[in-house]
Amino acid sequence: MMLLYADNVLRARPWAVQEGHAARKLAQLGLLVAAFGITYGAVMGSFGGVFGERFWQVVYSAVKVPLLLLGTFALSLPSFFVVNTLFGLRSDFSHSLRALLATQAGLTIILASFAPFTVVWYASCSDYQGAILFNTLMFGCASVAAQWLLRRFYEPLIRRNRRHRMLLRAWLVIYAFVGIQMAWVLRPFIGNPDAPTQFFRQDAWGNAYVSLAHILWTFLGR
C-alpha cells in the first residue's frame, strides 16, 4: 500500500495535489517521509557497526533524518502561510502545502533508493571523512532530483498565478536557511567510530553560520 503511494509520488501523479481529503493526504505524505527517512537514516547510522552499543547510533540516525526534514518543514511553515495569504494565494495554500510535502516524501524515497550504495560504500571504505562526504553527495543528488519533482508538482500552481514561482523561491531560501542549522544541531548523523554513541553532541551545539563565518575569516585572514 505504502509502496503504491510512493510510486504515485515519484511519478508526480496528481493524487497528492488533487482536491479533497487534504488532511488525510497530508498525513499519508508525512508517513511516507517518516518511513523512508527512517530507512535511509538507519543505513546512514550503521557506519560504526550495528551490534552492541553501536546499535543505538542506528536508531538515533533513523529518528533524526525524518526529524530533520519534518522539523525544518514545521519551522518554515508559519511564515510561508502568512506570506502566501499576504500575496493573495490563500485559496491555493492547501495545494501548495501538499505539493511541498509530496516533494519531501519524494526526497526521502529517492534517498532510500540510494541506501544500497551507502551500504556498499560503508563495506568497502572505513574512512570516517569519506563516509561524511559520501552521505553529503547522496543528500545532494536526492535534493537535485527532488527539485525536478517539485517543479512538476508546482507547475499547475504557477500556471494559475505567477506569484507562486516567487513564493516558491522564498520558501526554498527559508527552508535551506533553517535546514542547514537543523542538520548542524542534529549531528552526528553518521557516528564517528572513535567517539562514544550519543544522540546530540553536547559540546558541538553551535551555529552553522557562525562557524562558517569563522572558517571564512580565518581562511581570508591568512
Binding site: L75, V83, G88, N207, L216, W217
Partner: protein, 267 residues
Amino acid sequence: MLKWFRQLDSILRGDATRMSLLSDGQIQTPVAGLSVAVLLLGVLYGLCMGSFTMIRTGGEAYMQLIASAVKLPMLFFLTLAVTFPSLYVFNALLGTRLSVLSAMRLLIAALGVMLAVLASLGPIVVFFALSTKSYPFMILLNVATSTIAGALGLGFLLRTLDRLVVVQESLESPPPRPPPLPESGKQANAATTGPTAALDRAGQITTRRAKSVFRVWTTVFALVGAQMSWVLRPLIGCPTLPFEWFRERESNFFLAVLQSLVSLFSW
C-alpha cells in the same frame, strides 16, 4: 479573541482594502480589535526574541524575557505615534480624502501585516536561540526578520495608498470615463480628448507626485522604526551583561548592525 484575528486575516487576504470598499476614499478596517491582535502578536515575538538570553543564562534572565515582551509592541506603537502626524499632513497636502481616523486605520492595518509576518518567523528565531551561542548572530537574525516584516508591511501600505489615489482620481474626474482598472496606476488613455484632457493630465501629475511622496514617507517610517529599536534596546539582551530596562544614549542602529557584522566575522 478569534474575532480580532479574523479581522487581521481579512487584512492579510486583502479583503478589507479591496477597491470596492475604498470607493469613498475612506478605510473601514476595525481599529480596536486589530490593535489588540497587533499587541498580542508583538508580545509573542518579543518572547521569541528574549528567549535567547534566558536560554543562555539558564533561566536567570527571565526579566529580559518580560522586558522584550513588553518592549516589542511598544516599538511598533511608538513608531506609529512618531510617524502618524506626518503621514496625515502629507495626505492632506496631496489632496487625498483620507480622514484622520482612516489614516490611523491604514497604519494599524500595516502594523497588523508587519507583526503577522514577524510572529510567523518567531519559531525560526526560537530555534536559533536554542542552538546558537553567538550574540551578534542573533542580532543580525532579528534585524533580518524585522526587515522582511517591515518591507512586506510597508509594501502593503504603499499598495493601499496607491489604490486610494486611483480611487480619488476616479471620484474627481467627470463621469463619462471608463472606471479605472484595479491593477493599473496609470489611467487609460481613452478619454484624452476635449476639455477633460487638461484635467486628466493635471490629475496624472498629482497621482505621480502623491505616489513618490508616499514612497519617501515609507522610507522615513523604516528609518524611524530602526532607530526606535535602538532607543528601546536591549531587546534581545546580551547574555554577559546585567539586565537593564534601557541603556545609555550612544551610537545608533546602523553603526550597531555594522559592528555586529564585524564581530560575527572576527571572533
